[in-house]
Symmetry: D3
Subunit: 292 residues, 6 copies
């Protein structure tokens, strides 16, 4: 028996044992140092992996089987507790390595600030990048209580990096007045409250571009995702999020990377949030990465 083969239960289901042979790399970012209300998303990646054991490996949505995709679950990036600055440097460097090795990075948060260093790495590689951002919160603050490195700021930073006109937000139902004003004035594309319908309308305009997709699990109503730090009533259903993921799959969009963030299992004794998240990861794997 090879002891490397013994690993099971702590990686995403059907993970390919070899990094080299894989086109996709799943990785975790167990960080919640800047969370204001209810922290705990540092435990998200581990619980999504655990929940993946209950998944069917075939999807009737995508009519595809996980065995058709070669992905490697690389575990969690060992982020230093309480140090947002060094954490985001490590994430950027990590994504640099993945992109250099020509892998599709599929990240699991952790708090939403992690998307900022990921995009910094992508921006170095792709100069025509567009970002699809699915979330309850605008995340467009310039700073939070004087701190620019906050889980309320990543989308604002991304607008500065790649141009606000290349950022498409969906499902937004919470933020400061200034954030909504910025959305209006900056040229970014913000779609409030709804996700699937406006997304379908936007997708044709993104044809031919390299697109990164970031999903904050709190775009779901707390009924569908109680296990998150800043639950916000009035969200969409799991069904609508699955529909949105399928719409992207079916659009022929060139997705080059993606993440799913803010799963905080402590607030969800029923475990329905990591269970749903593992299904979304499966659909993202099957629909977005198969061309790799």
């Amino acid at each position: 028996m090879k002891f490397d083969e013994a690993y099971s239960g702590n990686v995403f289901i059907l993970s390919n044992p070899s990094f080299e042979d894989s086109n996709v790399v799943i990785y975790g970012m167990p960080m919640d140092w800047t969370v204001s209300f209810r922290p705990g998303s540092r435990f998200g990646p581990g619980r999504i992996r655990e929940a993946s054991l209950g998944l069917e490996e075939y999807s009737p949505y995508a009519d595809r089987h996980l065995e058709e995709i070669r992905y490697f679950d690389a575990g969690d990036i060992p982020l230093p507790f309480g140090n947002p600055k060094r954490s985001i440097d490590m994430i950027e460097e990590y994504i640099d390595s993945l992109l250099e090795a020509d892998k599709f990075p599929l990240g699991m948060g952790g708090e939403h600030l992690v998307t900022w260093p990921i995009l910094k790495a992508f921006h170095k590689k792709y100069d025509d990048l567009a970002v699809i951002h699915i979330d309850a919160h605008a995340d467009l603050r310039e700073e939070y209580e004087g701190e620019p490195l906050s889980h309320s700021t990543p989308v604002r930073k991304i607008c500065g990096l790649i141009g606000a006109e290349n950022v498409y937000s969906f499902g937004i139902r919470s933020g400061m007045r200034e954030e909504f004003q910025f959305a209006k004035e900056s040229g970014m594309h913000m779609h409030k409250f709804e996700v699937a319908e406006p997304l379908k309308k936007v997708l044709p305009s993104l044809e031919g571009r390299n697109v990164y997709v970031t999903i904050d699990i709190d775009v779901l109503d707390p009924a569908h995702a109680p296990g998150t730090g800043t639950a916000e009533a009035g969200g969409i259903t799991s069904k609508e999020l699955l529909e949105a993921i399928s719409a992207i799959s079916n659009s022929g969009l060139n997705v080059v990377g993606a993440d799913l963030v803010e799963v905080a299992p402590a607030y969800d004794p029923s475990e329905q949030t990591p269970i749903a998240a593992s299904k979304f990861i499966r659909e993202m794997l099957l629909g977005w990465t198969h061309k790799k």
Copy 2:
């Protein structure tokens, strides 16, 4: 440092420190003495305040900020445990004082029986009062197990007080046969199962009148509000309730008082019920009281 200013964390977010300078008074009624199935709503007001700390102060639904409203969180009325009779007397007297001081009373339950003494006070001031009642339960019983003071009876009592034809119920999906018969025969307006659509149709007919709105959190499906005593499957979503609140805001209706009742936090370890309730209170503040 003034010690009165030290208060934080136990009042609704951004509460104005002065009663006199405020147009609106938020108050709690920690009472669940007559609850038949699963008590616990006496802890509702405190948990709604706690959850309000996680709220954004701006609403993209109303495009208004809490700083535009001057409201004072007056804490809980000190109701005597286990004594429904004296409790409702105290509530009536309390509302009398608020109305005399020309404040908009925004109440948090507690069980639904509290709306009965509130309406007795309002009826003394307004002779053209209409009531909008949003709830899973008809609350039209004459008595419950021989007891007329029960959380199953307030709407029946209100019909007797202001005339059944002035009562508009929405979302009703549970009750005795006799209650549905009464609804039909008495001239009151009962809309079963749905809320937002029938409400929008009714609103124009209420123009120009003084209207009190009472919302029982269990109108929501238990998926959206598990933390309530008599959860009833088949309810509406948080989204629909937000839509209903907005519809009232946008109708120009003259709302003169309102309450939100039956949040029972013990049945909801995810805390999504008080989190949602605090958002509904914010929308009610922003949309219904700003003319004060």
Copy 3:
């Protein structure tokens, strides 16, 4: 005082004390021996009974009262722990007795494998049987990990027994590729993702036939039924399931037996799952059995 009359709290609300005088028999099957992911449905029947105490006895959906139906809650079949083979023999024999006594069997699971022996008994009595199957999972496996007696196989077995063309599945959103292929090739009728709409279209074609209905609670989204073993995001609402139950009631279909399975209370501290299940049982009693 007669001690037999003392029984209360542990039978479904308003259960008739006499087996002989009843047309319907409610019974539990506390079995979860073959469950792969999260067991616990053996505690389902007891908790559904407990939750039934909070039900109104009148239904505004059916406009009928439980007193119009004569049903006897016969308790749980004493199934031998860990022995699927003997358990299913006992269930078959039990249903044989009920059918011989001309009762309408209304079963509560327990895992879904229980429906297999129930159908074996029904098949002996009715030669034109059709089955309506409402579920998140296809349950069409030939075996699970080499074991043909599994909660993933009952519908496949039923297809073999009564002919695949007599099986109508609704709401299916999870399964192996082979199961969906079997569904296509075998002539059975599988409707993916949705329940109420496709069901309404199918119902007229079943007129005049004897129909058995089996409902797996996990057809609901985990938001509406977190208390189940294999929660699967993207499901229907409680409202849609109530609509489906009503559609069957109103169709005049000749329902001859039914079950509701896979309630696993341990995963749902809010207890909304058994509370919803007890309401579905009420609607099934009122809508499907009243002709008995």
Copy 4:
């Protein structure tokens, strides 16, 4: 198959099917109408029965097997919701019947007020009765908020009925000053904080008398019994309570009836409270009733 035999899962494990052939009757009192802080003990008896399924039928403490005892689980007395007065009348009448039939009554609460009508019935039959009371709370109030029928008053009432000098309380760590003064002045025997040691010293003095034992589960520390309404830190361990039960068993005391009250399962998602309670009931059955 006899349908009466089908009952399983909802009675205490190994319950004898026949009332007549049994020496002991287990019964539930699902009542919590007078509870001040956190209600819910009305669900206690059902959950203790459910948990009994996990019990070994043999006790290494008593070196006895449940098959050596003939007991009948008679279910719950159908107490009228919210009506303490009629409820206690029904309980008294119920115990009258049991005593007339020469059964050993073993009751499960429900709130502690139930012990008052039980003792009224016992007092009619036994004129030398002593009561052993094991509890965190003195329960010696004359009234609670003006109401003499309260779960804070039963022991005071019992003192009035059988003479304070015949009441022995153990483990008391909470009460009003007046209750502790009454304890001192009335001649009753109150042992604060500890149970097993003082009980062992008292037992010889009770030899030859007819003794009723009432145990409030909250005598345990909340660590050992979180599922109770008025949890009180600083209590005894489960081990000490088992030791106390054994001490009574081994003393040769003539126990004529007993109860275990205040299990409120909603506050204990781990279910350790009903699990422990079912074990205490087993030990009481094996140690106290076998002479019947």
Copy 5:
């Protein structure tokens, strides 16, 4: 009705309405910004107040009644989220004001770092201060991940401020090797694992001095206090902590201030941790502050 009197439910039970007339001030510090493992203690003070509603006002431990003490619950200090530096400045300034007004400060955390600014304020007033520190963790780190303001460092800082020989730690069962070495070499007094026995031995040596007492709730075993961030198995019972509090009360020690920290309610659905904490606060009020 005076609206200031309406406050109830959100202050510690029986709180005196007047700051001026009170000798003791209870205050909350809702801060957990530096917590490494499981944050959430910012919600501690609010839940301790909520739980205090279930307390008896008389203590059989101290034989005293809360009415004998005049204390004012001043609410929470409005600490700025995520800003440890400004938070500790605000706490120090707050305590300065309380000491100037000659009040006994009784604080509720929040994380343990809050004790550092409290002690800075006390040190300015008292030059002979001794500190009794009851905790599972040594809290003697110089820094945590490079950060000197951490909930792992307060006791080290206090040693630097008032002299290690004036610090007495009890119950310590967790820390780095360096912390235990510092304890040995610095002259401070560390008692591992046990609390009540070593404390009783130490108390006589502190006679005549001004003493501050800080209790971290995690000194309790997680069985007795699951609701804390860094639960550490092998702790003491609630009973032993009550015994320790009583020992200090009975010693005649001149306690000049105290705090209880690290209650994090989210990890304790049974709520036994805030319930126990409110009892400890009661005993501290009754035993330590009555000479004020």
Copy 6:
């Protein structure tokens, strides 16, 4: 960046990255197929690893630091769901490999049946093996419901394998009469109820022998370990178990392998059980394996 180094969060804290360089191998056995009452221990190993992140790396009990031990966390053995026979074959083969490679096997369950194949492997290597068994349950059944492969039988099987006189059980408080009789008649050494005291007396007699130690977490009282399938009131404290582990460490006993089983996280929303288990694993690592 090497991707193998990226692993973090899903292995036991400070795990050495190299199998070859390690003396100790930690491994998981995610199996609960034969559990009768409440399954779920298959999720134990993953949650113990997760909880280990909150551990201090130094132990004041052992005065040793985890860096002094070289251990490799090999992940979970990929046991086939629902197949006890093949699972135990795989475990035996796995342990064979570890022993051949001269590693100290430190296993995490899963259900207790896993200890049977482990001991079969050890028995092939050591002919003088003694077993220390710390548990609430005797586990001495010959079969359970006709099935010899059950979590109620492993100790009986081990008695047959290595001789009953070489088996030492501690803390036993539950079992069938036949099991206790077997314990008496077979020559094995069973110590009921207590652990630390009898163990200390037995240890000298085991000097010089090769000893395997198996700990079932349910030896703890449910207060200290609610997260287990067959919770049994009346157990020992975490403190006593730590004392027992230390006693073995200090005895100089030649421990050659060990396991900790039956952690079932679903029943413990406070997570205190995996938190405590990770501490026990730390103490076993530091005290029992350092001579490797």
